[in-house]
Symmetry: C2
Subunit: 169 residues, 2 copies
Amino acid sequence: MAVPSSVSVTPTASPLFLRENEVRRGVELLFFGYTRLTRAIDEGLAEQGLGRAHHRALYFIARQPDLPISTLLKILAITKQSLGRVLTDLGDRGLVETRTGNVDRRQKLLRLTPEGIQFEAQLFDALRSSLASAYAAAGQESVTGFWRVLEGLIPAKDKAMVVALQKDM
Amino acid sequence: MAVPSSVSVTPTASPLFLRENEVRRGVELLFFGYTRLTRAIDEGLAEQGLGRAHHRALYFIARQPDLPISTLLKILAITKQSLGRVLTDLGDRGLVETRTGNVDRRQKLLRLTPEGIQFEAQLFDALRSSLASAYAAAGQESVTGFWRVLEGLIPAKDKAMVVALQKDM
DNA sequence: GAAGATGGGACAGCCATATTGACGTATCTT
DNA sequence: AAGATACGTCAATATGGCTGTCCCATCTTC
């Protein structure tokens, strides 16, 4: 992709970005795309009596084992109480376990149990199959653009958090 | 994953679409991008004592004036009861009005009142400013890719509905 | 014209997921 | 020793979904 990141944005393209229809198209595609992707895993979650909130926690714990609760709270941007219930449910089902932090003993580090790893992988398969087919249909250049636009939607103050998740890529 | 060793594989070829990190990146960017975009309008909604469910209805009514309720139900994919409460709230605030269909008198066609138009436009401004800056930062080619991938996430049976929204583009 | 399908409204009750505010305990920092 | 931080927990509340049931008006079909 030839986007001159070192150069100031060229004004020639700017009329496009101010037109209402382009914005509405993005809003709608994001709405439908996001909701359809999340629906792909509802069935698997329901089998365990879990909801989407549980999956979000499961997902980020899978992504960053030994994640402290405070970090997960920042990622999910929900309250401690809301997350508490979710983690209790996941713990009760033997999907998530905690260990006391060795650097800071106040922390509880979250990780998936073997059963949790397997369950998350099963849910992830549904996400992968949806996204992989969308990627394949759109082509690699489109995927890069897809990422770039979404990155632009994330406020600067949150960007470090997202980058941290992807540092191993 | 079995890659035929007789074929030379470039790092950008099809295996890209099966690799876990690319999928996880998409999942995460969609999550953060979508949630951040929706947060952009929460404040404006709260001023009216409304929530995101109200905005979704408002948005699609703005997009397709004289929309029958049954169509809106398909778009939002929620139950009649859930939508009913939302529409009652919007009607009570004088943002939405209904008229009896002239083709089919059982139908109630939804449209925004002048106040509703103004309010939706105000919320839309927040969406526009977020999306427009993401578009501008990513560049026009990226925007096309962004659309393409999201379109690929929408199941075939829903695609006609989305296209219908955008037929005037 | 009668029967059935469809569009819409309304009742009651339930569930999942989020919120605020307050308070307690263990541990780390200064 | 004092204060900040990480985590847990209580109680109360709001939002936005859901199911099931029943109703009425209107359109379609035979």
